[in-house]
Symmetry: D3
Subunit: 242 residues, 6 copies
Amino acid sequence: MARPDGRAADQLRPVTLTRHWSIHPEGSVLVEFGNTRVLCTASVTEGVPRWRKGSGLGWLTAEYAMLPRATNTRGDRESVKGKVGGRTQEISRLIGRSLRACIDLKALGENSIVLDCDVLQADGGTRTAAITGAYVALHDAVTWLAGRKSLAGKVEKVLHTSIQAVSVGIIDGEPRLDLPYVEDVAAEVDMNVVCTGAGDFVEVQGTGENGVFKRAQLDAMLDLGLAGCAELAIAQQKALAA
Amino acid sequence: MARPDGRAADQLRPVTLTRHWSIHPEGSVLVEFGNTRVLCTASVTEGVPRWRKGSGLGWLTAEYAMLPRATNTRGDRESVKGKVGGRTQEISRLIGRSLRACIDLKALGENSIVLDCDVLQADGGTRTAAITGAYVALHDAVTWLAGRKSLAGKVEKVLHTSIQAVSVGIIDGEPRLDLPYVEDVAAEVDMNVVCTGAGDFVEVQGTGENGVFKRAQLDAMLDLGLAGCAELAIAQQKALAA
Amino acid sequence: MARPDGRAADQLRPVTLTRHWSIHPEGSVLVEFGNTRVLCTASVTEGVPRWRKGSGLGWLTAEYAMLPRATNTRGDRESVKGKVGGRTQEISRLIGRSLRACIDLKALGENSIVLDCDVLQADGGTRTAAITGAYVALHDAVTWLAGRKSLAGKVEKVLHTSIQAVSVGIIDGEPRLDLPYVEDVAAEVDMNVVCTGAGDFVEVQGTGENGVFKRAQLDAMLDLGLAGCAELAIAQQKALAA
Amino acid sequence: MARPDGRAADQLRPVTLTRHWSIHPEGSVLVEFGNTRVLCTASVTEGVPRWRKGSGLGWLTAEYAMLPRATNTRGDRESVKGKVGGRTQEISRLIGRSLRACIDLKALGENSIVLDCDVLQADGGTRTAAITGAYVALHDAVTWLAGRKSLAGKVEKVLHTSIQAVSVGIIDGEPRLDLPYVEDVAAEVDMNVVCTGAGDFVEVQGTGENGVFKRAQLDAMLDLGLAGCAELAIAQQKALAA
Amino acid sequence: MARPDGRAADQLRPVTLTRHWSIHPEGSVLVEFGNTRVLCTASVTEGVPRWRKGSGLGWLTAEYAMLPRATNTRGDRESVKGKVGGRTQEISRLIGRSLRACIDLKALGENSIVLDCDVLQADGGTRTAAITGAYVALHDAVTWLAGRKSLAGKVEKVLHTSIQAVSVGIIDGEPRLDLPYVEDVAAEVDMNVVCTGAGDFVEVQGTGENGVFKRAQLDAMLDLGLAGCAELAIAQQKALAA
Amino acid sequence: MARPDGRAADQLRPVTLTRHWSIHPEGSVLVEFGNTRVLCTASVTEGVPRWRKGSGLGWLTAEYAMLPRATNTRGDRESVKGKVGGRTQEISRLIGRSLRACIDLKALGENSIVLDCDVLQADGGTRTAAITGAYVALHDAVTWLAGRKSLAGKVEKVLHTSIQAVSVGIIDGEPRLDLPYVEDVAAEVDMNVVCTGAGDFVEVQGTGENGVFKRAQLDAMLDLGLAGCAELAIAQQKALAA
């Protein structure tokens, strides 16, 4: 069965990474995976939270959120509901964990970086797009710090690898890469794969949304995910070289 | 004393109104007043809140918010803080009140419209840009409803006028139009003027931020505001004609 | 058309300012504009919030609230709802801003004053009564500080002018001063004017509640508001001289 | 040792019950026990909460609160803190429970009454003053319902007895009635006694604040409390007869 | 009329106090009054809250909670509701107050103890079981501190007496000790009595749940409560001697 | 390097599943994986939430929480903090998703089941113990429903498989099964594997906590996890047969 947008099963959607999208943040990237569009900003403050002072270590966290009408149906604002939902917290924690895997907090020195990933338009894979874009924003922010001589180490020492993420799933028994919303809701199994530029795993999360999955299916999804991340790593390099 | 960006005292910043910026909402406009950039979406649902059912009247509300790094220094998310701040609520209420001034809720019929104004980048005048952009998004949403034959009246009956807003202030004793952030913080008096396309006032809010003001100064600011709104009305017409 | 209580269009309701209404606060005034009854207290603490320490500057804030049955229909308590509503925050901010316009925070020295305005009975104009009463409570509190030799400057230096506020509106096309509830809900335009004892504007907020308004109408409302504030300033002087 | 205000150990402070203190509520009483001053209002709505509809039974609840500067030191507002404190909830529950002891909810019919007790000025015994005043406000509200023919039974059937409350304590080993703040903080034992007009107990709460207490001391406090409540019942009758 | 479980009116349910129920806390007791089962833990931290530092005094607080299905019908979690209910707060405060009556905070020195009482299974009398069990957990925690030489005084000086609590009530006119749920809901009057090992009262709370009560009934309940507490004090001694 | 408790790398800790631990819930299991101790209850209510009525489908959710002193250091209660933390929500969602994989909501009919998993004592692997115990509690609850003839299908139709979960990790380069706390904090990679009794995957979550991981390591962990789940499935069968 053909994919709704005619892609091959192992093909990514068109990916764009627009750096310097906003004027204020130290790093700011608009990442697009097809119609999914996430604004990733990296905000630097010199110094670390009080409980970490004097440790010589930096700090990195992430926050993910969606504009109310990023989706097809308007969702209520979490600020108005007065609490951050479980899905939002889960994704914020995933992004933070993923990006901490590429940063040497000692080489960062006592500086803090907050990665904000705000979904302006959603069409599946928002968390994986966010991770992929956040890495580029983070790179710009660390470079900015280096320019101010506020960095204990060099940029390449602080960021010893790159981080990418992509979703994979099984639809009608077929493993497919980078699901848009219409495939995501139809998937029997849904998996997110986060990798380093060196091809190692940082995080693997597979869920049988409408069923369970066998070892062979899991293996096929991991293959697709690794290959997709390798392509995304190249896109990040190109964007950073531009 | 010259303005920081070289404009005349009665000159607006470059204004752009990009319609159909996102794919999901019924109306979606990216409005820019110089570096201030607000995404205004209009979300339509057929039907009204329970307490209004059977009234024959429609419903319109607005919500304003800022991305955490829309500003020069990162602000904490209101969702994380667990409550909507006073400034945010005040502006949301102002936008809703302003746009309700142009809509005939009877002609709208039992349909609900939510206007979301999310500041992606802030450089002064976010609330007035939001009102100006929200009108265009609202117009697209009402037109969409008309296309679905879900409207009690015609578009021109539902929206009997247009709505614009602009800030004015007094800096170093001089009344100036459309203040960017750097002028806003230096202003002795700060005023927001909301008008209809017919040149009537919808709302006037003047505050002596760093001092008080005399009747003559108030009059000068009102003159500037009226003229600025008239220009913005033309920009809206052009955008809607495109 | 006659006003419901027979007043002339430019006439205030009977105004009373009862000082020392409660025993604990440094300043405590029960202000009445007709049936509207607001308890205004000024609470002094020596010292300022941590972030302001060492600045040499004092601090002044205000909080407004309504008893649940101050109105004709009982309203739910904001403490029970777990959040302060938009209207309440807006008015609290207005009161604070207005009273800061008359105080020299340097001459106040590192002292903090909180103005609490609790509406015991509402009949229109609660925010303007609150501002008018809060000034008198503030004056008593500053005088109390002077009596303890805790003031950097003299009372007249700390409070360089007085502050008054009044509502004006247009009902059936006629501009009227100091609206009770029954006129307030019927008004086409509703405006609050805050002035200093010297006749300057501190804040002007006009809203077309059920319609828009023309420049001439705005001018007529400003005239009424200025005259009303001048009368209130005299009432404040008398109360403080008693 | 003499009491600070010269009273005998078994003597109440001057008690006043001012009915019709506000214009809006169906019952509204300003109760004063010396300097303690509580505004008690009774708000009637026809009908009962959804889960009670069709039961034929009425509903009665109470809410207690304190103005921020009712006390010697300003307390933060619970609305601003975003939650109702333990002490406030405890007293609200006590007032509701106490007043439900005198009302026949079947004879009330499907009507709801909310008793709001707002402390305008505190000097010890606020909860007992609140209960004593709330009974009078409740009586006025039930009489109002009777006047509208909205009552299933007669007023005397709905309210089959009256309710009073008073505090007692042991200071320097001496049992004393109706403690002002200065005695309250010094008391070794603190007790609140709620009675009916017939001299039965509704609620008894004794706490060893700074120590424990013996059976004989408890008996002496109960004697004082019963006698104090009997006096308060007479004051209530006089107020209702006025 | 016989009691549902065949006990005499003045008889306690079987009471067990299992020390060292969990491995982590400094004191940890599973207390059972019949089917009521409460896990009481005492958590010690060296040091006191900031505002108490340098006072030489220790600190003791308590928190009570119920698992959602401790009762016959599942209750919503207070964490999910986002606030602690009035009943929970009231009981937490009661437990803290009761246990503070037996501890010499000066002899404790600048150490903090939190008593957590979590109801695993409820069948009436959860607050009184919690107090009785918490005393034993507290004793173990203080002994633990003594073993670390972190105590200013000896264990017997820090804990100068023991604390017990039991419920009493009047069912069908008969005073009964230690009510299970089925009697609790049927009781006309419900009372909780907290005593010291020396037979003094710490707290007495009697409520006419479905009626009022006379002095003679109150006296009979106090007799039962005192006798029940004396038995519980022996059970505590045995548990601590084991 | 030997494991702290002397186990083989592929060996589970002692597992106990105590059914009917509490008297009220329809299913109630105390599950222990070594020192980790979780009370899992299944609460049945006939009927489903309003939005699901008439669908013919049942409903199943889960909530996870920890007692404050389940861990070595006391944690603040989420009810007191006023919000459910990200970790708690993430685990609650995981448990619900995992157990929904074994239940046929159509065969369950319009009944609702809430699974509460409260950690009484924590020593690593609380979420996997919770899932394993919750399945047994769920089985008892469904059997209870069958006994009341309230089930659309038979028990075996409603629960078409069993669900187990176990943690695996890599410590000092060695893949190990079922990590206690001391291994969990030292693990380079941490993975949770949820399986069905048929040996299929329901969920796989692997995280490089202190590093990244290679495909071969992931494969080794999956092998261990599958084998561990198979053992747990046997333990569940034995418990249910007892």
